[in-house]
Amino acid sequence: MGLEIGTNPMDMNAIAARLVADFAAELTDVRVQEPDTVVARCERAALKDVARRLKAHPEIGYQTLNFVAGVDHVRHLESVYHVYSWKTNTYLELHVEVPKAKAEVDTVCDVWPAADWHERESWDMVGIRYLGHPDLRRILLKDDFVGHPLRKDYVDLVENHPHA
């Protein structure tokens, strides 16, 4: 009853091929990670459009966002979106590279409402600014915390430890 899972089971390679065919320009480096994830890379500028089309895809609609993770690879930052498709019962892991100098990327809150708090956490921890987010403020740390702790160059500051 209710929402069905796996109504359109597709082979992983078939899913990857379909994504390559439909998103030829925007998604690069599409590969299959057994047993159930397709990993792809997306350009920062095309993210919003790709997100909308991924969600509305007729055969593999990626309708649910699992999480958004910010990762600090030392030369650049990365925003990882992990989405789930109910129809095929598979995941897609979307990597979006974000330059450190201008750490901004479009929000996907209007596509996947679950992104709200995940993006706030990514901003809080890694310092990636999500443009268009309705309420981008710190979520886990106190409001006057200085710095973004999950960056590799974060140094523990005295201002952040008034009670040490």
Partner: protein, 179 residues
């Protein structure tokens, strides 16, 4: 008519020591703990309040959620920089006499998260602690041992403290000679 108060006495005497004994006995056997369970230790604190490990046998089953009605704050869990001002305010809102137990490794000294950027290494950096209970989490029996130590501490409360007498100069013994 003016009634003599205990604090009017200069030195402890049989009245103040008897009052000490009675009031301290009463206080130590009916402590009202403050439910300040923050993290995993809170679940062990809850377990110690329920059927198998029954904290009611020590008179401490009345866990009040408001600090105004409590004597004892059991800090069970990690305190971090965001929570620290809240903890200080709640401690200030408790009325005297009040005691604090730091339950668990995190409240004692930061625990397994001691090198976190957001963790306060021990609640004694914020409020004065009377009893430390190590463990991660401490078993309910360990919590009880801590509560019993606290009872001993409560029973040492004095209304009128002994004034320290001035030291009498004693000559230092000559080196090498037996005293």
């Amino acid at each position: 008519m003016r009634y003599p108060k205990l604090e009017h006495f200069q030195e402890p005497n049989v009245i103040t020591t008897t009052a000490d004994f009675i009031f301290s006995w009463a206080r130590s056997h009916s402590v009202f703990p403050f439910t300040y369970g923050l993290a995993c230790c809170a679940i062990e604190m809850l377990s110690s309040g329920f059927a198998r490990f029954d904290v009611a046998r020590y008179g401490m089953e009345v866990f009040r959620p408001t600090p105004r009605q409590c004597d004892l704050m059991i800090v069970a869990g990690t305190v971090n920089e965001k929570m620290a001002p809240v903890l200080k305010r709640l401690y200030d809102q408790m009325s005297e006499p009040k005691w604090v137990i730091a339950m668990g490794a995190c409240a004692t000294s930061g625990g397994p998260f001691y090198d976190g950027y957001n963790v306060v290494n021990g609640v004694d950096k914020i409020v004065p602690v009377d009893v430390y209970i190590p463990g991660c989490p401490p078993r309910p029996e360990a919590l009880f041992q801590g509560l019993l130590e606290l009872q001993v501490k409560i029973q040492q409360h004095k209304f009128v403290a002994e004034t320290p007498k001035p030291a009498v100069a004693t000559p230092a013994p000559a080196a090498g000679k037996e005293v």
